[in-house]
Amino acid sequence: MSDRDSSGIENSDNDGNFIEVRDLTFYRGDRVIYQNVSLDIPRGKITAIMGPSGTGKTTLLRLIGGQLKPDSGTVKVDGKHIPNLTRKELFALRSRMGMLFQSGALFTDISVFENVAFPLRVHTDLPEDMIRDVVLMKLHAVGLRGARDLMPSELSGGMARRVALARAIALDPDLVMYDEPFAGQDPVAMGVVVQLIRLLNDALGHTSIIVSHDVAEAASIADYIYVLADAEIIGQGTPDQVLHSDESRLKQFMQGLPDGPVPFHFPARDLCDDLLAGVK
């Protein structure tokens, strides 16, 4: 089955996968971030991407969003090979994506209300009263309807990320990418955000990718989990399969064990050699 969208690009149903990554290799300078990584993000499901810090989880989201180009391999979103899209096609596709950035990435010169209204204003012709209703509903969902007139500089980090979450879902996009959605949230807000992501996914049927370190929260809502480390996928499966895996690296990461094959230290030479080398 195939059809064409408004930009004239051919779509395929991809056997139920919204995103297909094949043999992805990506370098930052001389450092390998991904070496021949392949993964699928199923349509309409919540997929968690987990792994130690610095393994390239956010980089994967940027590759999917077309902000970075792979050194080799393919990244297909809804059947479209991202690196091959023209600038216009890429921006058209991104209007069907929502992304929650780690920093929130709110526009600092406009209020909370205007930040959430922004995607609606640029991508729709909705009348002002309808934009107001949609914005208030989205802000109510993240518990910040009362903060609509505040400026981003007046928000805490957790609040800013919740406003960014409201902005990411303002257009009810086909794909929502959450980069550390639980970071900096108090227990009540964390519970609400976890519930909201699950609820939105079930109600709207969109595809969700969550990048997170919070094992318990991510596992509680994800349908499928990929664990990345050492430039490869070290484990994948349903939350139950991943949580109870006997694979040593997976077990160490999911259970937060201090000792094991997953290194805590960034690659470096032996400590003694380093200390004895002195100042050159």
Binding site: R94, G98, F107, P119, V122, H123
Partner: protein, 261 residues
């Protein structure tokens, strides 16, 4: 040793060409995208206010003092030859042809150019540019293009204001303080200043300066390393590159316009 030196020179050359090519593509995408009048016009107005209106004070105060100093210096020299009546002619031609466009552009680069670079650099470091991209909005059209056009529109207006205030300042010193006859001051100015040769050429110069300053400023901001040090360096580069570009371009334009080339 020689090979290494050659390699370094080659590497720097390639890096310069890459940067120049990137800034050219950046310019192309910013300027020649199909404008969305409904969405982009309010952004343009906002930027004209930020870039132009907010630069008015420094432009007017500087113009006033430069006009006054020019009148003082000019009067001292002209009185030696008994030609103080030509003060209006001297001041107006100097301001309209050279000092107005050039000094206004240097001030504009320092005031508005550095602000543009810092603002865009900070937007990059706080992921606002990436946020726009992921919302499906092209930052070159939304952020860069309005700032670019605002710079090109504001620069000639500011240069004309600079020259006008400078001439007024010169009349305050020359006519009201030093006692040059006002009739000869204004009449000589009127006789000697040609609209197409002097006023229009000055305006053309300032449009060219506005284009170059804003191009450098927005590109340096967009291309900056998103750290506090990186943004500081980009802001410095904007002022240095823009100032040198203004002076170099001024020589070329003057040679073409007034040098009978």
């Amino acid at each position: 040793m020689v090979i290494q030196a050659l390699r370094r020179v080659g590497s720097k050359g390639v890096s310069f060409l890459e940067s120049f090519g990137a800034s050219g593509m950046f310019l192309f995408h910013s300027l020649f995208a199909i404008p969305n009048i409904r969405n982009n016009f309010p952004l343009l107005v906002k930027q004209i206010y930020a870039v132009g209106v907010m630069s008015l004070v420094i432009i007017m105060v500087s113009g006033l003092f430069i006009g006054m100093v020019l009148a003082l210096q000019g009067y001292n020299i002209l009185t030696r030859y008994g030609s103080e009546q030509a003060l209006g002619q001297l001041v107006s031609l100097t301001l309209l042809r050279e000092l107005g466009p050039v000094v206004a552009a240097l001030l504009f680069a320092g005031r508005a150019g550095s602000a543009l670079t810092a603002e865009i650099g900070l937007m990059k470091s706080t992921e606002q540019i990436a946020g726009l991209e992921m919302i499906g909005v092209d930052p070159l059209r939304r952020v860069i293009a309005p700032r670019f056009w605002a710079g090109i529109i504001c620069m000639p207006v500011l240069a004309v204001i600079f020259s006008s205030v400078g001439i007024w300042g010169a009349s305050l010193v020359g006519v009201d303080w030093l006692g040059v006859y006002s009739g000869s001051f204004w009449a000589n100015m009127q006789d000697s200043v040609q609209f197409s040769d002097d006023v229009l050429n000055g305006v053309i110069k300032s449009i060219a300066f506005g284009f170059v300053i804003t191009w450098i400023a927005v590109f340096q901001g967009y291309d900056s390393v998103p750290t506090s040090e990186g943004i500081g360096q980009a802001t410095t580069r904007t002022v240095v590159y823009a100032s040198l570009a203004i002076l170099g371009l001024d020589f070329i334009l003057t040679a073409v316009m007034f040098g009978d080339l």
